[in-house]
């Protein structure tokens, strides 16, 4: 597996305070990776280290398989980033601000500035200064800066901060499209669970600087959806019994021995006993339940995420 971003035991200490501890991240190509954690969990620090803004105390960062340290000149231009609050020159317009960064880094096309502003629905020919922008517009401009040079990798720290609900939906759609159509890899952080679960393919949960879990959303959903799982000797008969004895039709047969029953309020023991009565061998039966929130609560030790 080749990862776009890979870190090994990444650690950052500010004095005696450990901000990020032993972090080993793996971001796959063409996926949206959501780093989920409360405020102060170490998300921003992690991203700053990935961008070379802050030097790690120890550990290795590899981007496109190359060590970041010493290769910044080659690697960073391929990354678009948004870290913390949008930072622009207040006395300039949106286009002038982008022009500065376009001059310093270069852009992929003649109309890159206009295209980027269009994508975040900000006007190109506007005399409004950055200092007069609302929080939402500032955030949009920051996103425009991140995508202006059509980078392969986006590192976005809380990209929906300050946006209104419509703006959030637009940004979500934009990121999805960049990932699915454009094949970009996106690394976002958020403290809002629902946001990450709507957007990300893979979720990493960070708490107090420690990466607790790193798993695909599909796996997580599997873990958190409500169903009863049976491992039996003959799924065909099990299916027939479910239909005939319990009038249950909402089940999925995984293979010859595994069957999952959804939306059932029946007690597991009762179903098992009927299976056994009918000559089936039941080697396993368990209930999988709980929402994502509950799952996160479990792994963060009861405090929950957001």
């Amino acid at each position: 597996m080749d990862y776009i971003i890979e870190t090994e035991n990444l650690t950052k200490k500010y004095g005696a305070v450990i901000s990020v501890a032993d972090l080993s991240l793996h971001v796959e190509k063409g996926k949206i990776y959501g780093l989920l954690g409360r405020n102060g969990a170490g998300k921003t620090t992690t991203m700053k280290m990935l961008l070379g803004l802050t030097r790690p105390t120890s550990g290795v960062i590899r981007i496109w398989g190359k060590a970041l340290w010493g290769n910044e000149k080659k690697l960073l231009p391929r990354i678009g980033s948004l870290i913390e609050a949008p930072g622009f020159y207040p006395n300039l317009t949106a286009a002038e601000n982008l022009h500065i960064f376009a001059t310093l880094r270069g852009v992929p096309g003649r109309h890159a500035i206009k295209d980027a502003l269009d994508l975040v629905s900000l006007p190109y020919k506007d005399q409004k200064l950055f200092s007069e922008y609302s929080l939402g517009m500032k955030q949009r401009l920051a996103i425009a800066l991140a995508i202006m040079h059509d980078p392969e990798l986006l590192i976005l720290d809380e990209p929906i901060n300050g946006l209104d609900p419509i703006g959030i939906a637009e940004v979500r759609l934009l990121l999805r499209r960049l990932c699915e159509k454009g094949g970009k890899t996106i690394f976002i952080s958020s403290h809002i669970l629902s946001e990450v679960s709507l957007l990300a393919d893979v979720i990493g949960i960070i708490d107090k600087g420690i990466l607790l879990e790193e798993e695909s959303l599909a796996q997580l959903e599997q873990k958190s959806s409500k169903y009863i799982h049976f491992t039996v000797s003959d799924t065909a008969q099990a299916a027939r019994i479910l239909e005939q004895s319990f009038q249950e039709k909402q089940f999925t047969i995984r293979d010859d021995h595994n069957i999952q029953l959804y939306h059932s309020a029946l007690p597991v023991t009762k179903i098992v006993s009927v299976f056994v009565e009918n000559g089936l061998e039941v080697s396993e039966a368990h209930t999988c339940e709980g929402s994502l929130e509950e799952h996160f609560k479990r792994i963060t030790g009861g405090e929950g995420i957001a």
Binding site: P77, A102, G106, V107, G183, R254
Partner: protein, 305 residues
């Protein structure tokens, strides 16, 4: 005289230094661009050559980027189809396996004489129904594949749609009555000349009604055919469970199923097929729905003047 010589020598040295500097810069730039192109060649279509607008290499860089982007777009369309097909294959294996295994369960029970007498006949009947359902599903699947691979041959010609619709709906009436669904069908007497593929049109209407009958739990259906501007409009309304707002946006997408994780559900292909067929006949289809209050599908086909 000496002064002039010194000046000219100095000028020569300076210009030599400057040109050395420029050559070095050009060389560096070219090698950077080569590196990017090598990366693109090895399959990374997301790579771009970045260049400030006033740089000497900017026009070249921008042209190359345009080219990479246009190829990448074409490739990504392929990749997306591939992705959908892959998803289809996984969901297919589940969607076929569950009903088929259940069917086997019934037949096995009969075969091993777990049940006898009237129960036995009952089981055989259930198995037969399941087999038919499965066949229907596979038919739909086949249609969908044909539609998506553009192999479906459409024979679009001018037909009189009012009469055609009336005949089709008359086949549905016994089914609706059997399911105790109230119906209100309004089709004017005047002819409606529309360019249609008859089979496709029938499949569209049948699919929509089938959806209502199978999934909406409605007890009333209304089908109104009328003329709207230069179009034939068909409005199909039910008072069933409706569709969630979130789902409504995706309803015509391939493989979208409203109710996830359950077993009793459609293939997720029916509405996608309807949508594609309507598009191919230059029509349009829109949907409105309120959760709990029913759903309205509106079909528009341009009339032939």
């Amino acid at each position: 005289m000496k002064f002039v010589v010194i000046i000219s020598v100095l000028a020569a040295i300076v210009s030599a230094l400057i040109s050395c500097f420029i050559v070095r810069r050009v060389k560096k730039r070219v090698s950077e661009m080569t590196e990017v192109l090598a990366d693109v060649k090895s399959g990374n279509g997301n790579r771009r050559i970045l260049s400030a607008a006033d740089e000497f290499a900017a026009p070249l860089a921008y042209e190359i980027n345009d080219m990479i982007v246009s190829y990448e777009n074409r490739l990504s369309a392929f990749r997306q189809t591939e992705e959908t097909n892959k998803r289809l294959m996984t969901s297919l294996s589940h969607d076929v396996r569950t009903p088929l295994t259940t069917l086997i369960g019934y037949l096995d029970a009969v075969h091993k004489e777990v049940v006898t007498g009237i129960d036995r006949d009952n089981y055989i009947e259930i198995a037969r129904c399941k087999a038919h359902d499965l066949k229907e599903y596979i038919d739909v699947l086949f249609d969908w594949f044909k539609l998506n691979s553009d192999e479906l041959s459409m024979e679009i010609k001018t037909v009189e749609a009012a009469e055609l619709t009336r005949n089709m709906l008359s086949d549905w009436i016994p089914i609706l009555e059997e399911r105790q669904i109230d119906y209100n069908i309004v089709i004017p007497e005047q002819p409606f000349k529309v360019n249609l593929d008859t089979d496709g049109y029938m499949r569209i209407v049948n699919n929509l009604i089938q959806n209502v009958v199978a999934h909406s739990r409605a007890d009333r259906i209304e089908i109104i055919l009328s003329r709207k501007n230069s179009n034939m409009e068909i409005i199909l309304t039910d008072n069933g469970v409706g569709i969630e707002k979130e789902d409504l946006k995706h309803i015509f997408e391939r493989l979208y199923k409203c109710d996830r994780g359950g077993a009793e559900k459609g293939s997720g292909l029916g509405l996608s097929i309807v949508y594609q067929l309507v598009e191919k006949m230059n029509g349009s289809i829109t949907v409105k729905s309120v959760r709990g209050n029913g759903t309205t599908f509106t079909l528009l086909f341009p009339l032939v003047s």
